[in-house]
Amino acid sequence: MSLAGASVPRLGRGMKLREDKARGQWIVMGPERMFVPDEIALEVLRLVDGARSVDAMVDDLAARFAAPREEILADVVAMLDDLAAKGVVVA
């Protein structure tokens, strides 16, 4: 599957973004699995709320990070595709 700008991703069934205080990090908890997102993935995951489109997420990131919008869009789509393959997000 590949997400497009208009797609509205949400976390997959049972997936929760949680703070792991003991280890000073954020994690994605899922059904008997856990992922530690890197800094960029964490920024993206924080915007995944089932209401924002990929375009809106990219606008938000483009306003905060100094990078061309098309570059951010390509990175976010690639990252969300990867997370979708793992079942972390669904579109």
Partner: protein, 369 residues
């Protein structure tokens, strides 16, 4: 040890050994704990808080059948309030719609449902519980309708492995997002039934090919986790990710264990949550430190390039097959005892299909006439 060990990631809470099913490969110890010995609600709630404070992120509420406890909703709520991701590992035969709703409201986040086969007659025979398979299918439907994520756990062996494609189809039909295909691990009850359960090499190879093809075809729809059987392996599994490295279990009676089967090991004084904190058990107890790291390892493991990958394999299997819990797991081709595995495979090929079902201990007082 000067620095404390890394924190555990997950707690297995074995709430009870009671279960209506009698699976011949049950992972509970052969000596089952009685109801009167079980921890109460308040003690479990304290264990969950201590586990979260120690660094656990997830709790597996298991058994026996965890919903056999009347306080199961209170226990789910206590785990959830402690901040743990709560997973119920269940046979599904005791939970109807009303009870499931109370668990959802209490904060349950995931359900793992066991199935014994894809076919009702065989499933009911393996579980030793008539009508169980149909109840499981109904429970799976309730879980799906509730919005909870569902994992199907299929324990596989010689007597059901040929229907693995049907089990994969069943997982899809039930709306499971995840399927665990777990070859039986031969400790406890399963060891007693090894001759009736060990698959043939041809069955194993077909199963592995089936899983690999299904993983490709169902990418993004169904995650398949695959636990391979040791008896055809050349390297042992990193059991529990290594003794006292990632995982701890608490038994129905409160004993803190590096793995749920560890009570079968002799010569241990496992700490009890009635007496000590979970942190003390994890960091300071002799039981958790005995096989932690690599210092305890015998010759084939000591200095081996795999030592920090497989951590010497499984202590329970080492004890069960060599009589020495500190031996290299015989699943390793470098173990001097590796041949016992092929001897077992040979014996199983000659054996019949009859099971020794899991049964409670019989009290002398309950024997009549």
């Amino acid at each position: 040890m000067s620095t404390p060990p890394a924190a555990p990631l997950a707690l297995l809470a074995e709430l009870t050994h009671r279960c209506p099913l009698r699976c011949p490969y049950c992972s509970n110890p052969v000596n089952l704990t009685r109801v009167a010995e079980e921890l109460d609600t308040a003690t479990w709630a304290r264990v969950f808080r201590e586990a979260a404070a120690l660094g656990c992120l997830q709790v597996h509420l298991s058994g026996g059948e965890p919903t056999a406890r009347r306080d199961i909703a209170d226990l789910v709520r206590a785990a959830s309030e402690a901040g743990l991701y709560t997973n119920l590992i269940t046979s599904g035969v005791l939970t109807g719609d009303a009870k499931l709703q109370t668990l959802v409201e209490a904060g349950l986040e995931h359900v793992q449902l066991s199935v014994q086969d894809a076919e009702p007659g065989s499933g009911d025979r393996i579980g030793g519980y008539r009508g169980g398979h149909a109840k499981k299918l109904e429970f799976a439907r309730l879980v799906h309708d509730s919005g909870l994520p569902l994992t199907l756990n299929a324990v596989v062996h010689r007597q059901n492995l040929d229907r693995l494609p049907d089990m994969i189809a069943l997982a899809l039909a039930l709306g499971a997002g995840r399927l665990e295909v777990a070859h039986v691990q031969y400790y406890g009850w399963a060891l007693a039934n090894r001759d009736a359960l060990l698959p043939t090499r041809a069955q194993l190879e077909a199963a592995t090919a089936t899983v690999e093809a299904a993983r490709r075809d169902l990418k993004g729809r169904l995650v398949i986790d695959y636990v391979v059987p040791d008896y055809y392996a050349r390297r042992p599994k990193a059991c529990m990710g290594g003794w006292g490295r990632q995982f701890l279990a608490v038994s129905p009676a409160g004993r803190v264990l590096p793995c749920h089967a560890a009570e079968s090991l002799p010569g241990f004084d496992f700490p009890n949550v009635r007496d000590v904190s979970l942190r003390w058990a994890w960091e300071d107890s002799e039981a958790f430190n005995r096989f932690r790291g690599t210092g305890w390892m015998p010759a084939p493991c000591q200095g081996c390039e795999h030592a920090e990958r497989d951590w010497g394999g499984c202590r329970c299997q080492a004890f069960a097959l060599t009589g020495d819990a500190a031996a290299t797991d015989p699943a390793c081709a470098l173990s001097p005892h590796h041949a016992v595995l092929s001897l077992a495979v040979g014996a199983a090929a000659e054996a019949g299909e009859a099971f020794t079902y899991r049964e409670p201990r019989r009290d002398v007082t309950s024997v009549s006439g």
